[in-house]
C-alpha cells in the first residue's frame, strides 16, 4: 500500500464515519459536526488527487468546499437555535413533523 492508497482510504473512511454519524446519532449538533467530518474526507481525497496529478484544480475546489462548509454552519446554527427555542430539546426525534 503506497501513500496515495493510504490517504484515499483514510478519506473514504472519514466520509463513511461522518455519514454513519449523521444516520445513527440523535443530537442535532453532533449530526452537524458529522457533516463537517464528511466534508473533511472529501477535502482529503481532493488534495490527494491534486498532488497525484500535479494540478491546482483540486486545491481550488478545496477552497470552495471551505466556503460551503462555513456557509452551511453559519445557516445551520441559527436554524438549530430557533428549533431548540421552540421545542427545548436537541433530540432530532422531536422535529419529526418537519418531514412535511
Amino acid at each position: 500500500m503506497d501513500r496515495t492508497q493510504l490517504l484515499i482510504g483514510v478519506a473514504v473512511a472519514l466520509f463513511s464515519i461522518g455519514l454513519v454519524g449523521v444516520v445513527v446519532r440523535r443530537n442535532v449538533l453532533v449530526m452537524l459536526m458529522c457533516m463537517e467530518l464528511m466534508l473533511n474526507g472529501a477535502n482529503l481525497s481532493l488534495i490527494t488527487f491534486a498532488q497525484q496529478t500535479a494540478t491546482t484544480v483540486g486545491a481550488v475546489v478545496v477552497f470552495l468546499v471551505f466556503v460551503v462548509a462555513t456557509v452551511e454552519i453559519a445557516l445551520a446554527i441559527p436554524i438549530v437555535l430557533l428549533l431548540v427555542r421552540d421545542k427545548h430539546t436537541l433530540d432530532i426525534g422531536a422535529y419529526s413533523e418537519l418531514r412535511g
Binding site: 444516520v23 496529478t53 500535479a54 491546482t56 426525534g93
Partner: protein, 178 residues
C-alpha cells in the same frame, strides 16, 4: 548525506501514517462519546491532524486554511452553539433506531474501501510530498482560470448573509407573536 535523506523520508512517512490513523481514531471517537463538547474536541483533533497531513504533502496554504477556517472559525462557532444550547438530556438516547443498519452499512462501506484501495492506482505524476504548487500559483490559477468560481463564491457568501438575517428575522417575529 543519502542516509540522512533516507531517514528524513522515513520520518515523513511515519508522521503521515501517525496523522492519518490519529485523524481516523478521532473521527471514530465522535461516534461513541455522548457529550457534544467531547464530540467537538474529537472533531477539532481530527481537523488539526488533517492539517498536518496537508502540511506533510507540501500544500502548506491548505493546511493554514484548514486550521484558520475550520478549527479557528467553524469549530469555535459550533462550540459557542454547544455552550448556548447544551442542556443535560439524560433521557435522550444516544443513538437513533437506525443504529444497527447504520453500523452494518459502515462495515460494508469499509469492506468496499479496503477492496478498492488495495488495487494499484495509476502511477502518480509526481511523488506525494513533493511541493507541486504554492500560494502564488494557486492564486494566479484562481483569479485567471477559475475566476467564475471565485465570483460565485462571493455570491454564495452574500446569499448566506441574507439568509442568516432572514432566519433571525423569522425568529424575532415568532418571539413577538408567541
Amino acid at each position: 548525506m543519502a542516509t540522512i535523506e533516507g531517514l528524513l523520508q522515513q520520518l515523513d512517512t511515519l508522521l503521515l501514517v501517525v496523522c492519518a490513523f490519529g485523524a481516523l481514531a478521532a473521527a471514530a471517537t465522535m461516534l461513541f462519546v455522548r457529550e457534544p463538547m467531547r464530540v467537538a474536541l474529537a472533531l477539532v483533533a481530527s481537523m488539526i491532524l488533517l492539517g498536518g497531513i496537508y502540511g506533510l504533502l507540501g500544500i502548506h496554504f491548505v493546511a493554514a486554511f484548514q486550521v484558520l477556517i475550520y478549527v479557528g472559525a467553524v469549530m469555535v462557532f459550533i462550540v459557542y452553539a454547544i455552550m448556548l444550547l447544551e442542556r443535560r438530556e439524560a433521557s435522550v438516547r444516544r443513538y437513533s433506531r437506525l443504529f444497527v443498519p447504520g453500523i452494518a452499512g459502515l462495515v460494508i462501506l469499509l469492506g468496499a474501501i479496503v477492496a478498492s484501495v488495495w488495487k494499484p492506482l495509476p502511477a502518480p505524476v509526481r511523488e506525494l510530498g513533493d511541493v507541486s504548487f504554492g500560494i502564488s500559483a494557486f492564486s494566479v490559477a484562481f483569479l485567471t482560470e477559475y475566476w467564475l468560481l471565485f465570483e460565485l463564491t462571493s455570491v454564495l457568501l452574500v446569499a448566506a448573509v441574507v439568509a442568516a438575517i432572514a432566519v433571525l428575522g423569522v425568529g424575532r417575529k415568532d418571539a413577538r407573536h408567541g
